[in-house]
């Protein structure tokens, strides 16, 4: 493990700052100094210092106050308190608040070495703990599926249940909700987990290609078939086949797959010899297949064959309480990938993320966080870093007087809530009587029908 650390020395006495600065430099640490608590907090905003040496007695913001702020905003940052003889009591209270250690100045040179050694051991243990915790979370929380909302808990509970059986599963959810991740989690939990998991996006390829990909073909059956090729239905042998965008496949392909599911046999293109196959099918769609069955667009028999168990994956707008957790997860992910360090989100920025509707769901949120991390210039994401997110409801293509804007917005909320005044007033955070007055003032009328 690398023992080099990023250290900040916070002391109002220049001579102490300088001594410690040169001392830590001798160990190859990255060292910075600050002459006040305010300056230290400013520097912490821009750089993730791992360890701070803080003098307890400083004008303005004293060491204890600074320690409290650090422990609230940057709980992972370690703080060693420096104090003079005679202020042991403050050192004890600092330890209670969360200081890692304290030094009474002037100290013997080997005392600081001992403190650094203890910190190094602690750092190693924390890093081991985080690694194991992360590993455990991965095992128990189905890899990258993040969420603690009631809706997601339902999905989490269903995964191990359905994984044990061999029945076909249909995952229903809007684009970007993480259907493939759920499919992978089901596969990982199933008895087939040691066998292949193959994912095919049916909407991304034309019918002829999809047929050849699934069933395989013999050499020379069509132009370009220079050699025989096994289809995914054969390659998957024993594993799980995930067919994304199943609603996009043609009626002919629906019949072919229905036959495969019923007979558990395939015949590759150009061959007459049927081959026995074994696989578990998980399909996914963002379309309302039930409706399409009623309309005659999708085959009913095929629908019931693939839809033995249906799992609905909620859109992000219906589980907004998961957004902070997802943001934290993606921040960690993209900090590792981009080697940038962004670990904070201001309250306003989080509010913006929570209020946006996320039509592209988790995938859109992930892309937004990646973009913001790449472009961010400090360790904290602010509203300015997310300026590319424009809540559709707040977009106005033309400039309107405030009165007109208020009228339009109230009308929009009323329409969205089917003219339920109580509900609309709640959303607008005004009381019902006020809303009635505004409806009257703006002469808003409920459309007929």
């Amino acid at each position: 493990m690398d023992k080099k650390m990023s250290i900040m020395v916070v002391d109002d006495e220049a001579i102490v700052r300088e001594s410690l600065f040169h001392w830590f430099k001798k160990y190859g640490h990255v060292v910075e100094t600050a002459s006040s608590g305010f300056e230290a907090l400013e520097k912490l905003e821009t750089y993730p210092f791992q360890l701070l040496f803080v003098d307890i007695k400083m004008p303005g913001m004293d060491g204890i106050e600074l320690l409290e702020k650090i422990k609230t905003d940057y709980p992972d940052t370690l703080v060693v308190i420096i104090t003079a003889y005679g202020s042991i009591e403050s050192a004890v209270s600092a330890m209670r608040i969360g200081a890692t250690d304290y030094l009474l100045k002037p100290f013997k040179p080997d005392q600081i070495s001992l403190v650094m050694e203890r910190i190094s051991v602690q750092k190693r243990l924390v890093s081991q703990y985080n690694y194991l915790k992360g590993h455990l979370e991965k095992i128990t929380r189905f890899d990258n599926i993040i969420g603690h909302s009631q809706e997601m808990e339902k999905v989490f509970n269903l995964i191990p249940e359905v994984a044990q059986s061999d029945t076909s599963i249909l995952l229903v959810g809007e684009t970007g909700t993480g259907k493939e991740l759920v499919a992978k989690a089901i596969h990982a939990e199933s008895l087939r987990s040691h066998l292949p998991f193959i994912a095919i996006n049916c909407g991304a390829m034309p019918e002829s290609l999809l047929e050849s990909e699934l069933f395989g073909h013999q050499k020379g059956v069509f132009t370009g078939a220079t050699r025989a090729r096994k289809g995914f239905l054969e390659v998957v042998s024993g594993g799980t086949l995930f067919l994304d965008e199943i609603g996009e496949i043609s009626p002919k392909m629906q019949i072919n797959l229905l036959r495969v599911l019923e007979e558990k046999k395939i015949t590759s293109i150009g061959s007459r010899k049927p081959l026995e196959i074994d696989f578990r099918l998980i399909s996914a769609t963002r379309r309302d297949l039930k409706k399409e069955v009623t309309e005659g667009v999708f085959r009913e028999d095929f629908f019931y064959r693939i839809n033995v168990i249906m799992i609905e994956i909620p859109p992000l707008r219906k589980r907004k309480e998961d957004i902070p957790l997802l943001v934290e997860h993606f921040l960690k992910k993209y900090c590792q990938e981009t080697t940038k360090y962004v670990d904070h989100v201001t309250r306003d920025a989080m509010e913006l993320l929570r209020h946006y509707e996320w039509p592209g769901n988790v995938r859109e949120l992930e892309n937004a966080i990646e973009r913001a991390v790449v472009l961010s210039k400090s360790r904290t994401l602010r509203v300015e870093d997310l300026s590319f997110i424009r809540p559709p409801g707040l977009q106005f293509s033309q400039t309107l007087p405030l009165r007109e804007m208020e009228k339009a917005y109230i009308q929009k909320i009323l329409v969205e809530n089917n003219w339920n005044v109580t509900q609309s007033a709640k959303i607008l955070e005004i009381n019902r009587v006020t809303l009635h007055k505004m409806i009257k003032r703006y002469r808003l009328e409920r459309p007929e029908g």
Binding site: E13, I15, S19, K26, P106, F107, P109, D110
Partner: protein, 181 residues
């Protein structure tokens, strides 16, 4: 192509025995393969004396000497028999800044064993040579090393100085060669 050998001046600050100075200069020449010269004596600046602590502030002495031109010498090691400190520490055996020009070695605490007894003169000289080489290492940008026997390992007491060898570990040797190239 060979580069010019670096030259180190060994400068007594006050009245220091010639043998001690010679031992230090010889060790620098032998261990780091550098040219050395014993310089005429100077007095440590009076402003460096801290009346409250009755010790000399190493940082102030170094700052004063950094501004002096010492002929052709790339680095200068000052030797004194006064007790040295830097503000955060109770004492230091020596002091130098990473990549700086002047370093200091104090014989004051090297003349006592941890149990308070007086060591033989030869041991004091050996300790002084080790501290001088360690501080010169910092002047040549070497960092503190984790290997307990390495010259660049930090020693808080004379027992640790005695435990340290007169050699650099494999890694610090390579680093030094790079720095001297």
């Amino acid at each position: 192509m060979t580069s010019k050998k670096k030259s180190v001046g060994v400068m007594p600050l006050g009245n220091i025995s010639e043998i001690a100075l010679q031992v230090i200069a010889d060790h620098i020449a032998g261990c780091f393969k550098l040219t050395t010269q014993i310089l005429p004596s100077m007095e440590p600046p009076g402003v460096a004396f801290d009346e409250r602590r009755l010790q000399y502030n190493a940082g102030i002495i170094i700052e004063a000497f950094e501004s002096i031109h010492f002929g052709n010498h790339d680095k200068v090691i000052g030797i004194l028999n006064k007790d040295l400190f830097i503000p955060i520490f109770t004492h230091v055996f020596g002091e130098a800044r990473q990549g700086g020009k002047c370093g200091l070695v104090s014989l004051f605490r090297l003349m006592k064993n941890p149990d308070g007894s007086a060591p033989p003169e030869s041991l004091i000289h050996e300790r002084a040579a080790k501290v001088a080489l360690h501080e010169l290492g910092h002047l040549l940008d070497l960092l503190h090393c984790e290997h307990k026997k390495c010259l660049m390992h930090f020693s808080g007491g004379t027992d640790e100085v005695d435990e340290m060898s007169l050699d650099l570990c494999e890694y610090c040797s390579i680093y030094l060669q790079d720095k001297l190239r």
